[in-house]
Symmetry: C2
Subunit: 350 residues, 2 copies
């Protein structure tokens, strides 16, 4: 096995040209094509020799003897790590993105939804987004509201204007006055705190403090807990699922079905994305690098977004291994920057 450093300048140029061409055409690329279409000033024979080397090193492969070469996962990896030149987005693409993001939406979920949508239409692949975990934002308000004699509604408003609520059934009746006292007690003790740091006082303590039946307090706290738990779950959004079908690698119906079925299982996709959130910054998973056996012909480009220095969610795009990495990466980076800015505005106090 030869070291990557030993890839000569020329080999790298040839590899890049080959991958660029393959990304465009989806057809195995021959030596003649490379020497003709792209001005390297080399004959096809020379390129043939170099390609034989590249194949031996594992960067490219031959589908069969008399076909051109196709990049391997290792080839793509090298391409993404060293050869890619970041594309600048077209002016109208930038405009599209900006106008979509800068609509001054007041809900963070809507913002993320929109961002995911735009990134899928611009790249032409499938995009997904994980709405933010709100556990790192502040709790703005807690309120307990009576619905009828035996049911109350617990509501919290988090930073980002996201509202979570939960209806709980009490085992004994409760007066409006009691509820009010409980409500303002919780409001006073909890609002303004970072959600994940919140320690809910014990039901007994509260009960003594404000003279409300402990059973009732217990139930309400349970509802509150559900609300707080709700801030941990983030929703998955998908856009442009059918974009996959535009690419020849999905011309096999069986494969299409497999992938679409996989995509409709939100839990799997969530797990897949969450796992990439550990490292921050943009990440590219090429082919078999991702965990899912069924998606070995796909690549995943993901990035976390956040507020200040804390990542709260992630989004990314899914496409065939032969994807236009340059374009995808540049679009993602740009959108991520905008999201970070906007979410800062929404999630932190204005």
């Amino acid at each position: 096995m030869v070291w990557e450093d030993e890839l000569s300048e020329r080999k790298m140029r040839i590899l890049k040209t080959l991958i660029d061409d393959y990304i465009q055409t989806a057809q195995p690329v021959g030596s003649r094509t490379i020497s003709k279409k792209h001005e390297l000033g080399l004959s096809s024979a020379t390129i043939r020799n170099e390609m034989a080397d590249l194949e031996e090193m594992g960067y490219i492969t031959q589908p069969h003897t008399s076909a051109g070469r196709v990049p391997s996962d290792k080839g793509y990896r090298f391409y993404v790590d060293h050869l890619i030149q970041v594309e600048t987005l077209a002016r109208d693409e930038i405009k599209k993105i900006r106008s979509a993001i800068e609509l001054r939406l007041n809900e963070i979920d809507a913002l993320i939804n929109r961002a995911s949508d735009i990134v899928s239409t611009i790249t032409g692949y499938t995009s997904f987004a994980l709405t933010p975990m709100l556990t790192k934002t502040v709790l703005r308000t807690v309120q307990v509201v009576q619905v009828d004699e035996k049911r109350v509604l617990v509501i919290i408003v988090t930073g980002g204007g996201v509202v979570k609520n939960s209806i709980v059934r009490l085992n004994t009746e409760c007066t409006a006055d009691n509820m009010m006292r409980l409500s303002s007690f919780l409001e006073e003790k909890l609002s303004g705190k970072i959600i994940e740091n919140i320690q809910i006082p014990s039901a007994d303590f509260i009960s003594r403090e404000i003279k409300v039946d402990p059973g009732i307090v217990e139930c309400v706290l349970e509802g509150l807990n559900v609300c707080l738990k709700g801030t941990e779950q983030s929703d998955l959004m998908l856009h442009g699922t059918t974009n996959l079908l535009n690419h020849p690698e999905f011309s096999d119906l069986l494969k299409v079905k497999e992938v679409l079925e996989l995509l409709s299982d939100k839990d799997i996709i969530k797990a897949l994305i969450s796992s990439t959130m550990i490292k921050s910054g943009l990440q590219v998973q090429i082919g078999k690098e991702n965990q899912l056996g069924l998606m070995q012909d796909c690549s995943l480009v993901t990035t976390a977004y956040g507020v200040g220095n804390t990542d709260v969610g992630a989004f990314g795009i899914l496409g065939p291994t032969r994807m236009s990495y340059a374009k995808v990466i540049s679009a993602m980076k740009y959108i991520q920057k905008l999201i970070n800015r906007e979410s800062l505005r929404i999630l932190s106090e204005e």
Copy 2:
């Protein structure tokens, strides 16, 4: 053109046999197949004659000269209206349905979601459901809650335990006391009423009545309106989208893409279903009978569900024209009955 009444007993039997067979095999059915596989006691030649008649009358067609016959839309229509024998569900299917529906979910949306899911797995087609319009249920509670100096949260709880909320920004600061008065005023005036009958009092009137700045009242009422509007919108749920791909009529990738794209446009599907909600009871739209050009090879079986006598939502299944109507219809009827019963429990006062 011959009248439908003139279809002889024997022609009807042949038509039914043909459609039954075609539904199973998806292959054009020949005269020999009919005479052999199914005991009509007639030779293929006789059946050929009858089939020629049926073709002339428009119930069946020939894809090409030397192929068997295939039911036309008209044929399916006659089949559904007159020939179908309602299938009884298998015992384990009934069990599946019952245990899914009778989980005693407390939110109507979750119930509908589950029902839609189960109907898609049982039939093997794609199912969709429109969550109920809640405008005909009572408003249980209205509450106005202060989030910070300049923002308040308006919350309503409807019958069925569905909570809608809206955050509004005030143009002037507001005291907690004012909010409280406004909140209890609205609660007193509006709660207990059927939502669609609610007439919101004018801001001026309320302002005079409880001595709160009219600008503030105005803003809050706007939020309230958003909440009430929210009860009119029903959500669309889809299940088993990829089931479509199991059927040979969707072996063409282009068609698959078209249909999937159509399905991902929720507004179009909503409109499609809503239009069938006008008539109550189970409805079957066969082939070109539906409005959407792209879905001319599909059939739609829909039914409204409701509480008591008022329909509040709809659900249904989408499959190829060659679908197993008997099975679908029996499953749908059964589930509809269960939903009606359950939703009555959830939506009306207990």
